[in-house]
């Protein structure tokens, strides 16, 4: 049975609480630094990708400026969110949920298509990919749901799944199998960290496995091929296995220290499909080698563990679940994206956090990390209570 923390005196209103110098000191600096480094890493590799792309005809400087602009927007949003009490997110969860569904529906109606999938809408001349925000928003919604209900009850889990069903269906319809899977990953990660009974999770997973044949039959042939070709890409080296093999060649040819920034050949010569997003890791590993990849991994680990520490320290269940959910979301995306590039995972179009180019992914992540900072700076119940005082948390 979950006991709500004594948080009544901190009303869930964004107007009630304001940033202050103390808050600045309370920021999770390790999280912030790793975030900045990852954004910087993404800018550098993105620039390198653009420079070496021999078929790129646009202005390299403009491309870089655009990436910097996204970073600035993301960081601004992050600062804004960081100094507002995260509780308002929970309060607004129902609205956020409806907004998410609305956005995803809009994509299907007026969205633009690339490579057979309708994933983005044009806003002020920029591509805007609602499904990236939908992932973060669903973490908000699920965190609120788990915080407000007894997560040990099967009904809570069922309710969570029901909440997920609509966005998963809408995203799947785009079709965006990858993002649909991220939703599933988020659900299990959050339910686990929220303390759901393992047998219930196992049952859900088993039910999912049992439903696999049905789901499989409903997948399009190209989706089926992508999901299985990683098992033996050489079986159809010219067809379904092509992307994976070319990615392996890119990664492997990077060797220990890489070919150097802008010196790769696989990505610029067009052998890497969607080199700026889905297969961006392959280009990074080709340019910067094993060393560059491990540096990226270390940054990711620091960021993810920081998120978990925030979850651990949150003053309320919503904060804990939200932070855990964001960690699960990022970890899932990273593992699937990198795993795909090195043929450990099926091919699914999931962007690599911070590294893949595209504003929606970066800005939505910045938003989430801002919320994490907010959770960190609002650990205490009440604005003046000492964090160290157990008395503040009387039951």
């Amino acid at each position: 049975m979950s006991v709500r923390p004594l948080a009544m005196r901190a009303p869930a209103s964004p107007l009630h609480d304001r940033p202050s110098a103390r808050r600045l000191m309370d920021l999770d600096w390790i999280l912030l630094i790793s975030t900045l480094l990852l954004i910087g890493y993404g800018l550098v590799t993105g620039y390198s990708n653009t420079v070496e792309d021999r078929s790129f005809t646009g202005d390299v400087g403009q491309q870089l400026l655009r990436a910097i602009l996204y970073a600035v927007i993301g960081l601004s949003l992050m600062s804004l969110v960081a100094f507002v009490d995260h509780s308002w997110l929970g309060t607004l969860a129902p609205l956020i949920y409806l907004g998410t569904l609305g956005l995803l529906a809009v994509v299907l109606v007026i969205g633009h298509s690339t490579l057979g999938a309708t994933r983005w809408v044009a806003i002020a001349g920029s591509k805007f990919q609602p499904s990236e925000f939908a992932k973060v928003f669903m973490v908000v919604v699920l965190a609120k749901w788990f915080a407000d209900h007894d997560v040990r009850s099967p009904l809570t889990l069922a309710g969570g799944l029901a909440l997920l069903a609509a966005p998963v269906a809408l995203v799947y319809k785009q079709p965006d199998l990858g993002t649909s899977l991220v939703f599933v990953g988020i659900f299990f990660g959050m339910a686990f960290m929220a303390g759901a009974r393992l047998w219930q999770l196992t049952a859900i997973a088993a039910a999912g496995m049992a439903a696999m044949p049905v789901i499989w039959a409903n997948l399009k042939p190209y989706q089926q091929a992508r999901l299985t070709s990683f098992l033996n890409p050489w079986a159809d080296a010219q067809g379904a296995g092509w992307n994976i093999i070319q990615s392996l060649i890119a990664v492997g040819s990077g060797s220990l220290s890489g070919k150097g920034l802008t010196a790769g050949t696989q990505s610029p010569l067009g052998y890497l499909p969607i080199a700026e997003s889905d297969f961006v890791f392959s280009g990074l590993a080709e340019d910067l080698g094993f060393v560059g990849a491990v540096i990226l991994f270390v940054l990711y680990i620091v960021l993810l563990l920081s998120a978990l520490r925030i979850a651990h320290r949150s003053r309320d269940a919503f904060g804990t679940y939200f932070a855990g959910g964001i960690a699960a979301m990022l970890a899932f995306q990273i593992v699937v994206n990198v795993g795909m590039a090195i043929s450990l995972m099926p091919v699914t179009g999931i962007p690599l956090p911070f590294i893949s180019q595209g504003g929606s992914s970066l800005i939505s992540i910045c938003f989430a990390l801002g919320a994490l900072q907010a959770i960190c700076t609002h650990q205490d119940v009440g604005s003046s209570a000492s964090r160290a005082s157990p008395a503040a948390h009387g039951s």
């Binding site: 303390g195 492997g252 040819s253 060797s255 094993f290 979850a311 795993g339």
Partner: protein, 630 residues
């Protein structure tokens, strides 16, 4: 800082997730280590293979000239379509093949099969899918719509062209697309599956000179197979040119006469060869009917191939070297030389041919007339059969002892019969030079005197090719040296420098008395001067030996009144510098007319004689001939 109240935090689960995350990254790192550090070099080479493609550049094939510099085989520009299977996704193969079929005019199945075969063999190497050269427009269509044709490349592909196809096809042969067996045999010599190769004739014989050396172009390209830049070029080395011993003028003159007779129905097929007896250089080599060798370059239809193969006149066979026939009276050279060399006969050996029949053991052996008494020269010049029956097999009635079959075979082989001459062409027949042991082996029967008689006049088992017969007479005409006949005069590099010169090659010196050879030369000259070989108003001192070889079964006169026996006509000749018997001949010629009995009557002359006179006199020019006449 955590208290009991914060039950929503599950530290163990968070810890578990944290450990899970770390483990996950460790797994990814291990995999990366394996890919990048352990197998880095391997993948780096694959990346280079991706980036850099080596495109073979085919060399220009050498061309072929006659001895006067006339072009007999050249290369015309055309375009070939190839597919690199590795660049053509399997899923698109059917679409691309059906699109290609429309452009290159070939069946979808054939194209698909070619690609699939190559896919299993070596998918990185282009395979030629066009079986005939493309026009510029069709080639441009493929290049412009390249996105519809992944893996398809169009390259300039010179097309072999023979300006005088039927005249030279028996000599030059033709080139064609390399087949599986040829590829297997030649791939180590730098041949590709899209290559052409000499299939027969001189194109086959001198492939090594004509071929040239493959070049390579190293190209950086992107995944869409667009060539971005050339990184390196090893230019191909063009093949060397051949200069033949053939004189196009003589070739034309001879072929025109032989073909006209076929056209007029005087004979069904014919062969003619002329050479320089002093060197073995072949000056003309004609076989009619022949075939269009250009058709083989662009692809022969099945119907055409069937027609050629079923034609009883064997247009695909070079009848001057590839088929053998009874030599008839021309073989009296062998009988006579063996009788002279074994001492059975001398110039003054007289045989009184007072009857047209020689009866031995109850069998009758006929002559074409009762000549009366003949010496060797008279016997040879008049081509008396009974004279040579006697020299070859003896006469039991008079006790005259002939040279015998073993001596005839010995001198026959010395003159080159029963073995290929070694002319530089594929498909030469050996002919048959029989002897008693050959008959025993072949038929299990002992040799009879009748066999010797028949052999003595070039009938029976003996069979020769026109080139063998000519070469034997050339050895007589030059005073006793048997040369290997050859068509190659020299090999020239593209810049004109001579890289190889074919000199005379002696097969053997005849082990005979030169005086005996002079007797043959005198007999041959006499045949012309007494008009046995009828050459009215000859402007050159021709000498020669006629032959009429019977073949087939006599079935009486047919409805058109044709002769009972079918026969071929021969005339072998040589032209000495002066009207004497010195071994100075500069040209010798053998003409063979197959089934020339078709329009012949009893009194008609051997048409090969007239052909010889007309051809050589026209070739040499009358003015020069006038000066040398006695």
């Amino acid at each position: 800082m955590l208290d009991q109240g914060r039950v929503f935090v599950h530290p163990r689960r968070l810890t578990f997730v944290a450990i899970g995350i770390v483990v996950m990254f460790v797994v990814l790192s291990v995999r990366l280590w394996d890919l990048q550090v352990v197998h880095g070099a391997y993948y780096r080479s694959l990346a280079e293979q991706n980036r850099i493609v080596r495109i073979p550049v085919l060399p220009d094939r050498g061309v072929i000239y006659d001895r006067t510099g006339k072009l007999l085989a050249r290369n015309d520009p055309g375009f070939a379509v190839s597919v690199i299977p590795v660049d053509l996704p399997k899923a698109q193969e059917a679409d691309v093949a059906s699109r290609l079929a429309g452009v290159i005019g070939r069946g979808v199945d054939e194209i698909t099969k070619a690609i699939d075969d190559q896919r299993t063999r070596n998918p990185y190497e282009p395979v030629k899918v066009s079986d005939q050269p493309l026009t510029r427009d069709a080639a441009l269509l493929l290049v412009e719509r390249a996105e519809l044709y992944p893996g398809v490349s169009v390259a300039a592909d010179a097309l072999r062209y023979y300006p005088d196809p039927t005249l030279y096809s028996p000599i030059i042969g033709y080139v064609g697309d390399i087949n599986a067996e040829e590829y297997a045999a030649h791939k180590d010599d730098g041949y590709l599956l899209q290559d052409t190769i000499g299939k027969t004739g001189l194109e086959w014989e001198y492939e090594k000179y004509l071929r040239g050396t493959l070049g390579w172009r190293e190209v950086e390209r992107d995944a869409a197979q667009r060539e971005l830049r050339t990184l390196g070029l090893v230019p191909p080395k063009p093949g060397n040119d051949l200069v033949l011993t053939i004189d196009d003028k003589l070739q034309h003159l001879l072929a025109a006469e032989l073909a006209k007779g076929v056209q007029d129905g005087k004979w069904t097929a014919a062969a003619g060869v002329a050479e320089d007896p002093q060197t073995g250089e072949v000056l003309a080599l004609v076989s009619v009917p022949s075939f269009d060798n250009n058709a083989f370059v662009t692809g022969v239809s099945t119907a055409q191939m069937k027609a050629w193969n079923s034609d009883p006149r064997h247009p695909l066979v070079n009848k001057a070297i590839g088929d053998m026939y009874p030599p008839g009276s021309t073989f009296k050279l062998v009988t006579g030389l063996s009788a002279l060399s074994t001492g059975v006969a001398t110039r003054n050996t007289i045989v009184n041919v007072n009857s047209m029949v020689l009866s031995v053991d109850g069998y009758n052996f006929y002559d074409w007339r009762a000549h009366g008494p003949l010496d060797f020269i008279g016997g040879f010049a008049n081509s008396s059969d009974i004279y040579f029956y006697t020299l070859g097999g003896g006469n039991p009635n008079t006790g005259f002892k002939g040279a015998g079959p073993d001596a005839i075979a010995k001198y026959g082989r010395m003159l080159g019969f029963g073995a290929p001459t070694g002319i530089d062409l594929p498909g030469e027949a050996s002919g048959i030079m029989p002897d008693p042991s050959w008959k025993m082996e072949r038929f299990g029967e002992p040799w009879t005197i009748g066999n010797t008689y028949q052999e003595s006049i070039g009938q029976g088992y003996v069979a020769v090719t026109p080139i063998q017969l000519l070469n034997a007479y050339s050895a007589v005409a030059n005073g006793g040296t048997l040369y290997r006949p050859h068509l190659l005069k020299e090999v020239k590099a593209p810049d004109g420098t001579v890289v190889y010169q074919q000199g005379p090659e002696v097969i053997r010196k005849l082990d005979v008395n030169p005086k005996d050879l002079e007797l043959i030369r005198e007999g041959g000259r006499r045949a012309v001067t007494i008009y046995h070989a009828y050459m009215p108003d000859a402007k050159l001192p021709f000498a020669g030996k006629t032959g009429t070889a019977e073949f087939g079964v006599s079935s009486g006169a047919d409805a058109l009144g044709r002769q009972e026996l079918s026969f071929h006509n021969w005339f072998v000749s040589w032209v000495p510098d002066r009207a004497n018997y010195d071994p100075t001949a500069h040209i010798s010629m053998a003409i063979f007319l197959y089934d020339s009995s078709k329009s012949m009557c009893d009194v008609c002359l051997n048409p090969a004689v007239g052909i010889t006179q007309r051809v050589i006199e026209t070739y040499e020019g009358v003015s020069k001939a006038d000066a040398s006449l006695p």
